[in-house]
């Protein structure tokens, strides 16, 4: 049994806690939140050992690993404390508010030799991992363009003020929403190295952008477009799509459906020349406990296994999430 604790029992935190609570190899030793109501509920109905001070929780409950799901501005100080206590860390995305903070934590995690993971759950979605596999196989030929898109109905009217609408706390469409698709592009193709121009557009929000449009250049020289809008109510929930165009083919994929056009399949099996369509049902591994999508269970299972040293700690490391933080910084600078 791996002893795990949770800091932050909000929307994502409760979802993580439920998955951890059902995990056969996890003992949840503590939960820390500032809400009395949430703590009372979790104590009385779930039998969890709740705290309001995470430092006290670390001392008393002695977790081997901690899941951090607090507003982004608290990531840096809390994760730093955890790393210094030699605790394995899974933190929600985005990683940090500045690349300087993130760099420090990447180095500290390496020095302490602890497992480190960020909750970019798209990496655990079967369609997107298949996209990565196809790109790495070289079947698309020379890649010359990509489009990364995310749309959804988060802010669809004026006057919604939460930490998500405060840029200093990690709010805004760029940090909260666009980060997912930037992270996918970084991982599937190569990290963003410069940004040629960006528009950060406020549609309903006063203090943050509701849409991000950007022209990105990757470290391998490929250029592409980012188009993200969280004020689009024609989507029932967040929908992320990546389009990748090469000399020998093209991929259009979202979380459910992968469409691939190939001029020549080469040595690739399971595909034929022309259009191929694959569905998430063919590309998803079964999980032991399902809450909101296989990917949420799969990412935590991967973290638990990495702590138990049965898988390598290579997916969604602090380092990979840092590249995304860095890209976010470049986009902000280019929009000024």
């Amino acid at each position: 049994m791996i002893k795990v604790a949770l800091i932050g029992a909000g929307k994502m935190g409760l979802s993580h806690l439920s998955i951890l609570g059902a995990h056969p190899n996890v003992e949840v030793v503590g939960v820390c939140d500032t809400s009395k109501m949430v703590n009372d509920f979790l104590t009385k109905h779930g039998g969890f050992n709740c705290f309001t001070d995470y430092k006290k929780m670390i001392r008393e409950a002695k977790p081997e690993a901690v899941v951090v799901a607090v507003p982004t501005k608290f990531h840096y100080p809390i994760i730093k404390d955890l790393l210094e206590s030699n605790v394995h860390v899974f933190a929600e995305k985005p990683f940090c508010l500045t690349s300087v903070q993130g760099e420090e934590l990447v180095k500290l995690a390496q020095k302490q030799g602890v497992v480190n993971q960020i909750g970019y759950h798209n990496k655990f979605i079967g369609t997107f991992s298949e996209v990565k596999k196809l790109v790495k196989s070289g079947v698309l030929g020379k890649i010359h363009h990509f489009v990364g898109e995310s749309y959804g109905p988060v802010v669809i009217k004026a006057k919604q003020e939460t930490w998500r609408s405060d840029p200093s706390e990690g709010g805004g469409c760029l940090l909260d929403y666009a980060s997912h698709v930037i992270d996918l592009i970084n991982d599937i193709l190569s990290p963003v190295s410069s940004v040629e121009g960006s528009v950060l557009d406020s549609i309903y929000s006063n203090n943050v952008e509701d849409a991000v449009y950007s022209l990105l250049k990757l470290s391998d020289g490929v250029k592409g477009v980012l188009s993200v809008n969280w004020s689009d109510e024609t989507y029932r929930k967040m929908s992320t799509t990546v389009t990748i165009i090469g000399t020998q083919g093209k991929i259009v994929s979202d979380a459910n459906e992968l469409k691939v056009f190939l001029k020549d399949t080469g040595s690739l099996t399971g595909y034929s020349t022309g259009w191929n369509v694959k569905y998430i049902t063919d590309l998803t591994d079964q999980v032991d406990f399902y809450l909101r999508g296989e990917e949420y269970s799969a990412q935590l299972d991967y973290f638990v296994k990495a702590v138990a040293k049965t898988v390598p700690n290579t997916i969604n490391t602090f380092q990979s999430a840092w590249y995304t933080d860095k890209a976010i910084e470049l986009i902000k600078q280019s929009a000024k």
Partner: protein, 288 residues
């Protein structure tokens, strides 16, 4: 419960494999009249139970049904609550406490916050009961013999080990609405254990059951084993495995399993409804 239950995913652009199809459905069912037309087509094929989420638009459908009691005299609705996106969006905007303040009727939450006292278990049960009442309002005067808890909520509480909330839902639905409680889940064997331990006998559980094991958490074998050896009233949903299985083969598999009381499916066109109904009758006949 009837053998065939009609679902509502197609009406609300819920499509597990294609965003394009989801948009097409959104366009097709823009007007309530399109939903009613499809429900009437399903009725004409012998399906008299509509299992639906407590989506705002269902309130309009309920009005239409209430206004034509003769036409819908045999028609039943199985409400599935809550419509999770409504609460999820509210939690993003208002936080957990703010969401409860907004959706729990009366001044219950307000007085609790002012009191600054510890929350007791019975307070959370009371909050749940008030939320059930709020969700049930739109069905007043309509025959709702089974009331379901949606899978996101069932499974959230299952993982949080808040088992008494699940049992509380069962008890309240029975007491207040003289209806049976049902549970939708993606973790059927695990839920059955919990309900049995909580004293719920022969529970109604709706879960993904399909030939390819899609969304059958823990694996298809444990589901088949549970159906063979345990006592529950199972409803099979996602029988087409999100479209991964040929319809005929999909229905043959489900009809061949023991202990499946009902099959839940949704479809947008009369031809597709007819096709699934025919397949169910065909393979039920083969089994008999």
């Amino acid at each position: 419960m009837e053998r065939i239950l009609f679902g509502d995913n197609q009406f609300f652009a819920v499509n597990h494999i294609s965003d394009e199809k989801s948009r097409a459905q959104s366009i097709k069912f823009k007007d309530d009249s399109a939903i009613i037309k499809t429900l009437d087509e399903a009725r004409s094929l012998g399906i008299n139970t509509f299992m639906c989420t407590t989506h705002d638009r269902i309130a309009n459908i309920c009005d239409i049904i209430r206004n034509d009691p003769q036409k819908y005299k045999d028609f039943k609705i199985y409400p599935c609550m809550p419509y999770a996106h409504k609460y999820a969006n509210a939690v993003t905007e208002l936080g957990i406490a703010g969401t409860l303040k907004q959706y729990v009727p009366g001044n219950f939450i307000g007085s609790m916050f002012k009191g600054g006292m510890a929350y007791l278990s019975k307070d959370f049960i009371s909050i749940m009961e008030l939320l059930i009442d709020a969700e049930m309002k739109m069905f007043k005067g309509i025959n709702t013999p089974v009331v379901f808890l949606q899978n996101v909520i069932t499974d959230l509480f299952l993982g949080l080990r808040a088992y008494d909330i699940l049992i509380g839902f069962h008890d309240y639905v029975k007491k207040k609405y003289n209806a049976e409680a049902g549970f939708i889940t993606m973790n059927m064997p695990k839920l059955l254990d919990v309900l049995e331990k909580g004293g719920v006998e022969n529970p109604i559980i709706c879960s993904s059951i399909n030939k390819v094991g899609f969304r059958m958490s823990g694996g298809i074998e444990i589901y088949e084993e549970t159906l063979r050896t345990r006592k529950l009233r199972a409803i099979a949903m996602q029988v087409l495995g999100g479209g991964a299985i040929h319809p005929k083969e999909a229905i043959e598999y489900v009809c061949g399993l023991p202990n499946i009381e009902s099959i839940l499916f949704g479809a947008s066109s009369k031809a597709n409804i007819q096709n699934t109904v025919d397949n169910i009758h065909l393979f039920d006949g083969v089994k008999a």
